[in-house]
């Protein structure tokens, strides 16, 4: 039993309870509680990340509480190389998102309550080692997302976007849930514990024909949650309408839930089905990389551009998973972490610009460097990271993924490189030119840079982490690869006996 993960997940929840008890007009206290809870959670996560021992067997920092004994459900939290980085990244984004919430002036108590519940759900989903809670925490974040976009969201099609994102995510989650339950029933392990199920399946492989109907449920259920093409339409719309913090948390962290689920559960437990579906995934991921990249080129709104580019980046992660090799999957996990920081950073920038100028239309922007040297620099760095510039963590992940994928999928990888590097560069560089350079329109005269260290902190934290992981990728890869190895080995194991 280790209290580390319990406090990482529990602090935001405790914060939510505390916020609920504070009277409505103590606005400063409410904000301070939210900031303190997420900050402490981040510090503890940092310590956990530092103390994590790469290559040690099994899960670390495990804590478990029995929940429903008769069904074998335990609230079990723990990390291995696969999710230690994701949890750490999640806490950074959570703190940054809370810091960026200073823009919210209306019904602050409700807002922070929902934000903290959403953060609890997100961190819990990545820390859970029990498939019931894995799902439970993900769904916990759903209603806060819905209400936050609805009440504090922006744009004309806010209502449509709110329902669109909620229905899509519910559909994906429920399809995945059926797959998860089927897995639980099929394995006969009488436990929702991932470790127990994995051990059981290692000894008694699931028959191939059973794999063939469970795997697609998980693949497409989780795929919808990750905005796998062609189920991606909810993402740019929803993120465009969401308030800054919600978009940061959702695009940055929560969206990786489906990928994590595929890697943790679907691929290792159902190797035959996984291998036969990987070709399909490789082609679908081109839809993300090329199609959504082209869509992003056409966008005039910064928020939609970021939304579409974040969908496009998901394709590279899928490609890494499809390679089913240690290098490729490790690269995919690195991109998951890097993209989480990048997406949060992009939406934080968008939020700051919208707050200052009340517009997201890039045609009305320009010459921003003069008024906002700090934000301008962050924009250039972010966009460059988005193109895959060496020095940022994205480069590391993309390079690993593409190298590994080329072995199995020549054509797909060639097209993906073209899509990721050329198309990505086109819209990112055009965005830099439109926003940062050129003549400055009149109405920008009153726009302000991020003022004071506190307002700059979220940008520095997110960008800094991206740089550190980019310059010292071993911090991530050394942890990830030891946990990826058994998954890849299981996925490439010899066929299971067909009878059972």
């Amino acid at each position: 039993m280790s209290p580390i993960l319990t406090s990482i997940v529990g602090l935001p929840l405790a914060g939510a309870v505390a916020v609920a008890l504070v009277p409505r007009n103590y606005r400063f206290v409410i904000r301070a509680i939210a900031q303190a809870a997420t900050f402490l959670s981040m510090l503890i996560a940092f310590w956990m990340f530092w103390q994590f021992i790469p290559g040690k067997d099994g899960f670390q920092f495990v804590s478990s509480f029995e929940w429903v004994k008769s069904l074998g459900i335990t609230l079990k939290l723990g990390v291995d190389g696969l999710n230690v980085g994701l949890v750490f990244m999640g806490t950074i984004v959570a703190f940054a998102a809370t810091s960026m919430s200073y823009m919210i002036k209306d019904r602050e108590k409700d807002y922070y309550l929902l934000l903290l519940v959403m953060i609890t759900g997100i961190l819990g989903a990545f820390a859970s080692l029990d498939i019931f809670f894995f799902f439970f925490f993900h769904e916990l974040a759903l209603i806060p997302t819905f209400i936050m976009i609805g009440v504090w969201g922006k744009g004309d099609d806010k209502n449509y976007a709110t329902f669109n994102i909620t229905l899509y995510l519910t559909l994906g989650a429920l399809i995945a849930l059926v797959g998860l339950i089927a897995l639980y029933v099929q394995t006969g392990a009488k436990s929702f514990d991932i470790a127990a199920i994995t051990a059981y399946v290692k000894a008694n492989p699931i028959p191939v024909n059973t794999q063939n109907w469970i795997f697609p449920l998980l693949l497409f259920g989780f795929g919808i949650l990750v905005s796998l093409w062609p189920f991606h339409t909810w993402a740019p719309l929803g993120y465009g309408a969401a308030p800054t913090a919600t978009a940061m948390l959702h695009a940055g962290v929560l969206k990786k839930f489906g990928l994590y689920g595929i890697l943790r559960i679907a691929v290792p437990l159902m190797p035959e089905a996984a291998r036969s579906w990987m070709h399909v995934i490789a082609f679908l991921c081109l839809g993300n990389i090329v199609y959504c990249g082209l869509v992003a080129i056409r966008q005039r709104q910064l928020n939609l551009l970021i939304g579409n580019s974040s969908v496009a980046h998901m394709g590279l992660i899928f490609l890494g998973i499809a390679s089913l090799s240690v290098v490729g999957v490790t690269g995919a996990v690195v991109i998951m972490i890097a993209h989480g920081l990048l997406a949060a950073l992009s939406f934080a920038i968008n939020g700051h610009l919208y707050h200052q100028t009340q517009t997201e239309n890039m045609d009305q922007m320009g010459g921003l460097m003069k008024r906002m040297p700090f934000i301008g620099t962050v924009i250039v760095a972010t966009m460059m990271a988005g193109c895959g510039l060496p020095g940022f963590a994205n480069f590391v992940g993309e390079a690993m993924t593409l190298f590994a994928a080329f072995k199995n999928f020549h054509l797909v990888t060639a097209l993906a490189v073209w899509g990721a590097l050329v198309i990505g560069a086109v819209y990112m560089l055009r965005a830099i030119r439109n926003i940062v350079h050129g003549p400055m329109p009149e109405h920008w005269q009153r726009a302000n840079d991020a003022q004071g260290p506190l307002r700059k902190l979220p940008f520095i934290l997110l960008g800094g982490t991206l740089l550190v992981f980019g310059c010292f990728p071993g911090l991530l890869t050394e942890k990830i690869k030891f946990s990826v190895e058994p998954i890849v080995n299981m996925a490439n194991s010899t066929p299971a006996p067909a009878h059972k």
Binding site: V68, F136, E139, I147, L167, L171, L177, V178, A182, V185
Partner: protein, 481 residues
């Protein structure tokens, strides 16, 4: 004759009669308060019910009556529902011109019928207890005599109720004709020879249709939206929770105590009924603007989800029905209590009356929003875990069988559709564009407590389901699968 066996039912019936008597000596202005007296008295009965040991089944009255764990589970369920409905009725009393005490008394009589239904061990008992419930509801649904809608609801319920009673009696007659008995155990013992005979199957089918009327399942679901909309809100609430649960306990007894062999062969038939009910309820609820009508269709959809537990034909499925109903009790009663209070000034129950509810009364807004979220099936509320258990039970029964996979697919579709209208209510509460009335809403102390109890019920059953699952498992031990 062991009459202590029916002590709880007797007590409830006596409370109803006592209310009618006390009414004679109560001044007009204070008659509404009698609801609290009745609720308190039922509370005592509820507490006393926990002194009864029901671990072994006890039979009485010529084997027509059984007191086992399943019966006690539902008796307590009905008592809690009636207490909340009575408190709700006091809030509603200003809208009933005359005879509010009779309203309370009839609620007690309906409750008495439900408690007998929970203990039915014989088709005759099933019919008698159902008639006691249904006749009481004929009166309750048309209690607002000056309101045409209420009378219309009463008449519709009367006609549909009479038709389905006729179905049921005919079914019972057929079963008795071929089997020579109406006792559940004797029917189950003779199942091997009986279940091959078409007349027996026809009889069971007709009884099943009669029960479908009570739970508002296809093909006799048509009455639900009209009656829900027109009836006085507390009567609707009791109909939605008590009457539906009574239908389900009888369904469980019929399917898994009287004719388990037939049930097992009817897997696909039940699956089809469940699927149609789910789709019908959820699709029709989509365009509704009237809150009570919306809940009427949602109640049909929920009957469909609950039928999944019967489709599963295993203990996990029946326990899931019990669990789901327990969560449903608090969820639906919270919603109807809020509607009762909010509509005090409003003419009808259009969804626009919820505009600005968050500013007018945060407690009401929270209770209704949580209730909708629980109905939609989102953690950490009771509705989520209930749906989880139901789907799990069906997967256990038919993993890999295409028909059951289709059923699960349609269920998911139904749940996703239901998000649109449940969350539409949440939207109306929190971000309506126009707020016509922003005056604060005053809530009486008992109503406040009731709402808090309902919220606590939803959250506690959702967060700590272990105890309730054990109770549901213990209650369904006696059934045969």
């Amino acid at each position: 004759m062991n009459s202590t066996l029916i002590s709880l039912e007797l007590a409830v019936g006596l409370i109803g009669l006592a209310i009618l008597l006390i009414d004679l000596w109560t001044p007009l202005a204070r008659k509404a308060q009698l609801g609290y007296v009745a609720a308190a008295a039922l509370g005592v009965v509820l507490v006393l019910s926990f002194t009864i040991d029901s671990s072994t089944a006890q039979y009485g009255f010529g084997q027509t009556y059984v007191r086992d764990a399943l019966a006690m589970f539902f008796k307590r369920f009905f008592l809690i529902a009636a207490i909340i409905v009575l408190i709700m009725s006091v809030e509603f009393a200003d809208r009933i011109q005359a005879g509010i005490s009779e309203f309370y008394a009839i609620v007690c009589f309906a409750l008495c019928g439900m408690m007998f239904a929970a203990s039915s061990n014989d088709l005759v008992m099933v019919f008698v207890s159902l008639e006691l419930i249904t006749v009481s509801f004929y009166v309750l649904t048309s209690f607002q005599r000056a309101k045409v809608k209420s009378l219309e609801a009463g008449v519709k319920y009367l006609i549909m109720g009479a038709v389905s009673s006729a179905f049921m009696v005919y079914g019972i007659a057929l079963v008795f004709g071929i089997a020579g008995t109406t006792n559940f155990q004797k029917l189950a013992a003779a199942a091997v020879t009986l279940s091959a005979k078409p007349i027996f199957l026809a009889g069971i089918l007709l009884v099943f249709v009669g029960l479908c009327f009570k739970i508002a399942a296809f093909p006799v679901q048509m009455w639900a939206p009209d009656v829900y909309q027109g009836s006085p809100t507390p009567a609707t609430a009791f109909l939605a929770v008590g009457s539906k649960a009574a239908g389900f306990v009888l369904l469980l007894r019929l399917l898994f105590s009287a004719a388990p062999d037939v049930t097992h062969r009817w897997g696909l038939f039940l699956a089809a009924i469940a699927a149609i009910t789910i789709l019908y309820g959820n699709l029709c609820a989509l365009p509704q603007r009237n809150l009570k009508r919306l809940l009427g269709y949602s109640s049909i959809g929920n009957a469909g989800y609950l039928l999944l537990g019967a489709v599963a034909s295993n203990q996990a499925g029946s326990a899931a029905i019990l669990y789901y109903l327990a969560g449903y009790l608090f969820t639906v009663l919270a919603a109807f209590t809020v509607i009762t209070i909010v509509t005090r000034q409003a003419e009808d129950e259009d969804i626009t009356i919820l505009a600005g509810l968050n500013q007018r009364s945060p407690l009401l807004a929270r209770a209704l929003a949580l209730s909708m979220i629980s109905l939609a099936g989102i953690p950490p509320l009771a509705g989520f875990f209930g749906k989880f258990l139901l789907i799990k039970a069906v997967v256990e029964r038919g993993a890999g069988h295409p028909a059951f996979l289709i059923l699960i697919g349609l269920t998911i579709l139904g749940v996703v559709i239901s998000f649109v209208y449940y969350l539409g209510v949440v939207r109306a509460i929190y971000w309506s564009r126009v707020i016509p009335d922003s005056s604060e809403i005053v809530i009486s102390m008992p109503a406040r407590v009731t709402l808090c109890v309902c919220i606590a019920g939803m959250v506690i059953f959702g967060l700590f389901p272990g105890g309730l699952i054990n109770a549901a498992n213990a209650a369904t031990n006696a059934l045969h699968f």
